[in-house]
Amino acid sequence: MKNNKNKTYIDSTHTWGRIFSVSAVCVLLMVPVAICIKYDAWPSFNQVFKGLLKVIPIFWTTQILEILVYSPMLGTGATYLSFVTGNVTNLKLPCVLNARETAKTKPNTEEDEIVSTIATATSAIVTTVILAVGVIALSPILPKITAEDSFFAPAFKQVLPALFGALGAGYLIKHWRLSFVPVITAVVILIFDGNMGTGTLIPICVVVSIIGAYIMYISGFLTGGVKPKNPLKK
């Protein structure tokens, strides 16, 4: 019975997610269309196409990778929400991981799905409100807060190490055996190519981490020396 309910909830999440994704595409496209109509300023197809040629090969590929890598981590509702509201790696995913720690849910359960959706929705609302208040009410003082020489500037430059340090602490200590391989891999890759974007580095680290975990598991390294049955062998 619970399974049927679960299926119904997930199925209807897919239905609503699809409706909102299509609506989001329309809302997004509305912006350039409205600008063109209002200012009677239609650029030529060639000018837009030339610009897109430089962007599409990199960013469309990244978007395919993002769906493949992040959707299993986020869950259904959170994926639909995250891909509309953006900032997936630097905000939505950390928020989901934090929420799961808070609620102590088990991975891949319906509880996990619910908590992830609530966390992502909260994060999207808070970000949207902060941006709106910041732009409308704080525009005169905003440049002073975020300027290169402001008191707070060093903190804003270090948001990601602070965020992932806090988030990683629990995981790294709880699963320290699993952590060595991906962390060392990331550092070694960056020593050779320091300019590699996180968009490329994350899928590499995730794959390496999973392969490392699989090898450690079947070799008994994670189970006190007792070799478990290979879960991928039928």
């Binding site: 897919h14 200012y39 990331a186």
Partner: protein, 282 residues
């Protein structure tokens, strides 16, 4: 074609920041908030149905709010960075929906370069004065990022069904938990690696390559270590003294502690040390 500024109500208005543009932004903001509230209410109701306590779900909301504040302010700083070229409203719209600094700058720059036709050369960093260039930039920014949203409704259900099937075939819950943890550790590792050995990302502004933020160095490692230590210490205290209500605040406090360390170091240490990057942008 209209001019950059027009006279309205006794003052000169920038076409990129007038009431019309703010109106567009309000539509986008209402859509995003509406969608988020809709999904949250559904999840909350379903959570109650399957027995998740309201207290737990409220904790998730509280903790997620705290966890979002600092990164959201950093995104706000991105809006300010882009505002010099695009006005404040278009970056606000772009970063309310899918988008991030590097993508938006790359897309804007690509669109601007397509106008190098001898008539109106523009580069990122200059204030856009031509509505035609402005509209081209908005088209490239939008179409360049829209693919994921088109793809998602077509593939997500199938993708998740496939993953679910693989999970059920393995029939080993302990292995499933380990792989799930390994996936998250892979994600976290990329950012930890960046704090230890990554170079600062760069953008092209006024024809020059400029770093955005800082590369790995004293500051990034000190911030990383501070947040890790603070979280570990607070988690131990929570466990020892059974501070269950305080647990929600542990990760956000760890993050703020890391950021506070950055401010402290930049004020206490000489600049040559605090700003030392062993991986400066190239």
């Amino acid at each position: 074609m209209q001019d950059l500024f027009y006279y309205a109500g006794g003052e000169f208005m920038d076409f990129k920041e007038n009431g019309f543009m703010y109106g567009l932004a309000v539509v986008v903001v209402l859509f995003v908030i509406g969608q988020s509230i809709f999904f949250m209410v559904r999840a909350f109701r379903q959570g109650k149905k399957i027995g998740i306590s309201v207290k737990t779900m409220r904790s998730v909301i509280m903790s997620s709010t705290l966890f979002t504040i600092a990164p959201a302010i950093a995104i706000l700083a991105t809006v300010v960075t882009l505002a010099g070229t695009l006005g404040i409203v278009l970056p606000w719209i772009r970063l309310t929906v899918v988008g991030n600094l590097q993508y938006e700058v790359t897309a804007a720059q690509a669109a601007l370069e397509s106008f190098k036709d001898g008539q109106s050369i523009a580069v990122f960093g200059q204030n856009i004065k031509d509505p035609r260039i402005f509209s081209a930039v908005s088209w490239v920014m939008t179409v360049g990022i829209i693919f994921g949203l088109i793809l998602l409704p077509l593939v997500l259900k199938r993708l998740q069904n496939k993953i679910g099937k693989i999970r059920s075939e393995t029939n080993d819950s302990r292995f499933g938990d380990i792989i799930s943890a390994a996936t998250f550790i892979g994600l976290v590792s990329a950012f930890i690696g960046n704090a230890i050995a990554g170079k600062a990302p760069t953008i092209k502004e006024n024809g020059k390559i400029l770093p955005v933020g800082m590369g790995a160095g004293i500051m990034s490692v000190a911030v990383l270590i501070t947040s890790i230590l603070v979280v570990v210490a607070l988690q131990l205290l929570c466990k020892k003294f059974k501070w269950e209500k305080f647990e929600v605040f542990v990760l956000p406090i760890g993050m703020f502690a890391g950021m506070a360390m950055a401010i402290l170091l930049s004020n206490v240490l000489p600049e040559s040390i605090s700003m030392l990057e062993w991986r400066p942008a190239t």
